[in-house]
């Protein structure tokens, strides 16, 4: 898919996120919006994934370690026609397959594993990667993490293991929007220098602008060419990206805009598409 098309998909995904969160009445807009290009670039260009058969054994695997950002994943899966766009309206409602955090047991096509408790995804991804290697299969594994999540110790257990086992089929993506619930990451519990940390753990590290499709595209391509070590893509992003009143504000981690502000957001995104 061309970058111009990826941008249109991203705009639609942003609108889906805002609309479904408005209907849900709760959820996490900031960290969903910051990850849009990272997830769209993956599913619409780089991942081997069959929306008609999401359990296809030749698929690449995606683990949303920052489970609270599931609106972006749900929107992308719906845009790929894994299920209907209408089902996005059921987010967080009783009986829905679209739980507040991804739930494998609800059998929504495309959800590999339940996530939401932070710090778990990288181990899960490393386990799938080892499984693929031992089964002599070429499937790739992508794990999208938050940057606040890097404060969890289990991430570093997994980071050590992925390097030890030379998991070059594993790509960790850090949505580096710089904010967590209690404020700026650097003030709460600084994770920097993050790239150096991953490098010193033996990873191939790529630092990119997570909203620039040229860079996102190139990073995923470089991951696929890297041998003998896992890749970490540290993507600088903006929390609440694309909606002016949300950008870079911690308060939009888990707040739902009013009806008027939703309208304003949708108009802003429409203006961007027309550009």
């Amino acid at each position: 898919m061309e970058i111009s098309d990826l941008k249109i998909v991203s705009a639609n995904v942003r609108k889906d996120i805002v609309k479904m969160l408005e209907l849900a009445g709760s959820g996490h807009p900031g960290g969903s919006l910051s990850a849009v290009e990272l997830v769209v670039g993956l599913y619409f260009k780089h991942m081997k994934f069959n929306p008609k058969d999401t359990n296809d054994l030749s698929r690449d695997y995606f683990v949303l370690s920052k489970g609270h950002a599931c609106p972006v994943l749900y929107a992308v899966l719906a845009r790929l026609e894994c299920f209907s766009l209408n089902e996005l309206c059921t987010l967080r409602k009783i009986g829905s397959r679209l739980q507040g955090h991804p739930a494998k047991d609800k059998k929504l096509p495309g959800i590999e594993v339940s996530t939401g408790s932070l710090g778990y995804g990288l181990s899960i991804g490393a386990g799938i990667s080892v499984g693929m290697k031992r089964a002599k299969k070429n499937n790739k594994v992508y794990v999208l993490m938050g940057d606040g999540e890097q404060q969890e110790g289990s991430i570093w257990e997994a980071a050590m293991a992925a390097s030890q086992f030379k998991l070059d089929n594993l790509c960790a993506i850090v949505d580096n929007n710089g904010l967590q619930i209690d404020g700026a990451i650097k003030d709460v519990m600084n994770i920097e220098p993050l790239a150096d940390k991953y490098r010193s753990f033996g990873w191939n590290v790529l630092q990119i602008d997570g909203h620039n499709f040229f860079e996102v595209d190139r990073a995923y391509s470089q991951f696929k060419e890297t041998k003998d070590k896992p890749t970490a893509i540290i993507a600088k992003t903006v929390k609440g990206k694309g909606i002016s009143y949300m950008e870079n504000l911690t308060e939009w981690h888990g707040k739902i805009p009013s009806k008027e502000l939703v309208q304003k957001a949708l108009e802003e995104i429409d203006v961007l598409i027309k550009k």
């Binding site: 499984g131 031992r134 089964a135 289990s154 257990e157 997994a158």
Partner: protein
Amino acid sequence: MVEVFGKKATRFGFGESLIELGKENSKIFVLGADTASSVAINIFRDMFPDRFLNVGIAETNLLGMAAGLAIAGFIPFVATYGVFAAGRPWEQIRTTICYSNLNVKIGGSHSGLMVGSDGATHQALEEIAIIRCLPRIKIIVPCDFIETKKAVIASAYVDGPVYIRYGRENTPIFTNDNSPFEIGRANILREGNDVAIMACGTMVYEALMAAELLGKKEIEARVINIHTIKPIDEKIIISAAKECGAIVTAEEHQIYGGLGSAVAEVLVKNYPVPVEMVAINDTFGESGNPMDLMVKYGLRDVNIAKAVQKVLKRK
């Protein structure tokens, strides 16, 4: 007399059955956390290096990677000391494995006081309680070496998470290859209608010995091996309550939340009868010779027999 066919630690039953499974099923994968030899998965490691992984001293990653291997289509068995297999990665077991209903089998070795001289830090006495409250997982506490082998084989062929609790020390072998074993179905090892003793793990042998002691006093005790704590065999418990009228539970585990609690839950809802519980009485263990500890903490046949006499007075 209780017939005994030698002594062997249940951990070796765990390890040996994994080798059998490894030979017959290429999906069997074993993960360890630096304790391969002490939890008896070292032979599997040496025979099937392509299906073994040592993650080092990192138990949250141990369970997380096992979850990933299950997603990748393998049947992963993890094994380490029970404290580290159930305690530290409890949330991975809950949120990643049980909530996703992943096919991960967890071996919790070094259960109970019988760990001995390492002391309380390494004596797992709480796993049944903290694992039992999780939806979807099954818990098996086999009574001897032979039953541990059967439990491991059976768990490989049942879909979804299973926790198997086993031990380090040599303990009597008193079941044989023909003894029945089915997950979720308890076994009556001795008939009797005066009282029922329900035990799991190492305490099953003590229960049989206790029944011998009681027999001399003309008290006929039914002994039931509740090897599966979850799902628990409600039918056999209710029948015993109706036919015996009093129950004693026995486990090498904390008194809160373990087998005794599980049996009591069934009884209060269906057929309440007096119950006494032989278990660790809300305290930590300590260093010492395993059998000395069992005596000090009241986990021997005589303690069960005493509990029986107490419960009979309440009948």
